[in-house]
Amino acid sequence: MELLGKTRIDFIGKRNISFVISAIISIVGIIGVIQVARGAANMGIDFSGGTAMQLKFSKPISIADARVALHKNGVSKADLQEIKDGNKLLVKMAGAAVGKPSEMVQAAFKKEFADNAFTVESSTEIGPSIGNKLRKDTLIATVLSMLGIIMYIAWRFDFKFGVGATLATIHDCLAMFAAFYLMNKEINLMFITAVLTIAGYSLTDTVVVFDRIRENLHKNLKGAMHTIFNDSINEVLSRTIVTSLTVFLAAASLFFFGGEVIHDFAFALLVGVIVGTYSSVFVASPIVVILENRALAKKASAA
């Protein structure tokens, strides 16, 4: 079976459109990153410090009632979120100290919902010093893995390809930040893990395309850059899509069936896989074309 027959799509010719789209995505992503750095985004308590609890009630409970109950008992700053299956409630208190807040929440619910017993399914309390350390470690990890990838690409490909692959990788990471920022999803350690995983994985598609471009460049020294690149992308298009599709299927099953704990993590992976495929065709390759053309023009004017 073949998904796509022989295609002749002018990918490189569409670069103006794709660059505009990618620029918008990247700008939103950068805003997201800045908000994260400022601590203004929806930060998980692993970075901000605080308390998060997941409670399972025996009967359905409305968020409004829960909020009133907490307010009455002196817990004023809490984010509440409902998990649909199984009367579950997430309570998040950013920046709160370890120990007290969790007891206060439990006491409040025990008092106000005496006929609706609950169990604490999980509770996470993180002091501010740990949050700071984690933020610092995460930053180092992100910088290190980016550096590692860039160095590897720089070693394997020449400079122009390296620039294309690196920009595409950064683009993919920014797109994930943009999605999470726009949807106000929580930025936590698992999200960063997903971003770094995609940073490594999205290169697969880029490498597949680049390898083919290099191969064709060696074979065909006279053709126009534009055509060689387009032909190469079209030649490997089906494998670019199929490799992404298999990982997409796996990530989608995590997203739909993996449970609430890794729901957002799987969502981040899905976004990353899709954007990673798009960027290897529409971002990485056009950038290399532009750089190659510029180098050729320089050579021509020098001669």
Partner: protein
């Protein structure tokens, strides 16, 4: 069959056998008796997020340990000076790193200076100075000693906490020091985390202090050698808590480090639990002396600066045993006995991270993770079979091999499987067929060029090799960084991912190739199912 193929098949088979061998302890509920010592016993551990449990990070207030040792120095100097008939006005800890002494005359000051130099040679002594007509001098702990003391305090705290957890009874706890003053405790599968946390985090400093009946707690002016502490009384009927202030002597008569044992007993008369304690010989002697000298007076049993009870000494108590009674449930009495036996923490600890996962959520996560994994496998297997037909099934075989090897490797390393770790395995299901997709697409191209199946196969594997290496190495780079910096669940993800990626290189480049070679080696096959 070509020689090379036979060799490779044996290698694959050996790895399969090894994987299952390593997996046996994980899969079998009980190992058979003939399993013996030579066969592997390590198994895949479940992370706290999967089996439920508590992960604590505690910070030892090491400054308090220094202050504590300076207090001891001050007390010791008081005793020494008293015994040598050197008169002084005041000796006390001053701030966080000094002890200051105030003396009446220059003459005694000289003698004291000499004495200190002999007794505490490592301390830095200031020259004497005048303080409101008295002669004063200060003693300062030097930086290196302070560091040593802090280090020792964390080490001691670790030992004490380990002791307490052992006595509390938790299976397979992890207690580790992290950084300068942090202690990480993991308690898998614990039923009552709140109780365990209270037990672990308690300083449990026990002091016996004489009650100063001569000073009213309401008076407001409390002499320097006394302090105001509170006794908490809980009304067992209403649960109401009342606090009674009591003035006690600042100096302890006896402290908890002189105990050798503490046990819970039940009072036969009132059916009330109490804690029976045993002193060591020095403690027994002191206790004997103190009770003998103070019959009819009250002394306070002080736990972490709260008065537990303040009974009247009815008679001299010799023999070194005593009891702490009042307001206990069986659990609180048992916990007190544990902390007294394990000893006090050298400094207070603060819990700065507490992640607790209930067992039901953990089981739920396992079920959902496995379910998602199964669906992921089915989707990928189905897709590959439809898209690449028989060749797709060979890729699927490689994927299954990949999972078996990965589980075997996790077991062999005694690695911890977390929910993100399961997610990584599910993700790997998708990734592991990728290499074969790249190879297959190349083979299709070569076939279109008119090559024979055998030639197309070899060209496909050869030309795809570098591409596959590249894509694996970039994933491996991030996985390695995540492993280095990640904690808990993230680390689990990194372990599964990096092992999986390495194994995948083997299965996709050697495992699937061998299967093809078996089918195609004679070169007679005209058509390839791809």
């Amino acid at each position: 069959m070509p020689k090379e193929t036979g060799w490779r098949i044996s290698l694959i088979a050996v790895f399969v056998v090894l994987s299952f061998l390593y997996l046996t302890p994980t899969l079998a509920s009980k190992l058979p008796s003939w399993w013996g010592n030579l066969l592997p016993k390590d198994k895949i551990h479940l992370g706290l997020d999967l089996q439920g449990g508590t992960h604590l990070v505690m910070e030892v207030d090491t400054q308090k340990a220094i202050e504590g040792s300076l207090d001891l120095v001050a007390t010791d100097l008081e005793d020494t000076l008293n015994s040598k008939n050197l008169r002084f006005k005041r000796i006390a800890r001053n701030g966080f790193d000094k002890v200051s002494l105030v003396l009446y005359e220059k003459g005694t000051a000289d003698a004291v200076q000499k004495l200190i130099k002999d007794k505490y040679p490592t301390y830095e002594q200031s020259p004497t100075f005048d303080e409101g007509g008295f002669v004063a001098l200060t003693l300062r702990v030097n930086e290196k000693d302070a560091q040593d003391r802090k280090d020792k305090a964390v080490q001691q705290a670790l030992e004490t906490i380990r002791n307490r957890i052992d006595q509390f009874g938790v299976s397979e706890p992890t207690i580790q020091r992290e950084g300068i003053n942090h202690i990480v405790v993991q308690l898998p599968g614990i039923k009552d985390p709140q109780r365990a946390i209270e037990l672990i985090g308690r300083t449990a400093r026990l002091d016996f202090k004489m009650v100063r009946e001569d000073i009213s707690p309401a008076s407001g002016s409390i002499p320097e050698d006394a302090e105001l502490l509170k006794e908490k009384m809980v009304d067992s009927a209403t649960g109401a808590v009342t606090e009674i202030p009591i003035v006690v002597q600042k100096k302890s008569m006896i402290t908890g480090d002189l105990l050798t044992d503490a046990q819970v007993r039940i009072d036969s008369q009132f059916n009330q639990p109490y804690v029976a304690i045993e002193f060591n010989s020095l403690g027994a002697k002191l206790f004997d002396q103190v009770t003998a000298a103070n019959v009819g007076k009250r002394f306070a049993i002080v736990l972490d600066n709260n008065i537990h009870s303040a009974p009247v000494i009815r008679e001299r108590i010799s023999g070194g045993s005593a009891q702490i009674s009042g307001n206990f449930t069986e659990k609180t009495a048992a916990d007190l006995a544990i902390v007294l036996r394990a000893g006090a923490l050298p400094a207070p600890v603060k819990i700065i991270q507490n992640v607790t996962v209930g067992p039901s959520l953990g089981q739920d996560s396992i079920n959902k993770g496995l379910y998602a994994g199964l669906i992921g496998v089915l989707l990928v297997v189905g897709f590959m079979a439809v898209y690449y037909k028989l060749s797709g099934m060979i890729a699927n075989l490689g994927m299954i091999l990949n999972i078996v090897y990965l589980m075997g490797a996790l077991a062999a390393l005694g690695a911890t499987l977390t929910l993100p770790g399961i997610a990584a395995i599910v993700l790997l299901v998708g990734m592991s067929v990728d290499s074969n997709v790249i190879i297959f697409e190349r083979i299709r191209e070569e076939l279109k060029l008119g090559k024979s199946p055998k030639a197309a196969l070899d060209a496909g594997y050869d030309k795809a090799f570098l591409t596959i290496m590249d894509s694996h190495i970039t994933t491996l780079i991030t996985a390695a960084v995540l492993f280095q910096f990640g904690t808990g669940p993230v680390k689990g993800f990194a372990v599964s991912l990096s092992l999986g990626v390495i194994i995948n290189l083997f299965t996709s480049l050697i495992g699937t190739k061998v299967t093809f070679d078996l089918f195609l080696h004679k070169g007679k096959v005209k058509k390839m199912s791809i």
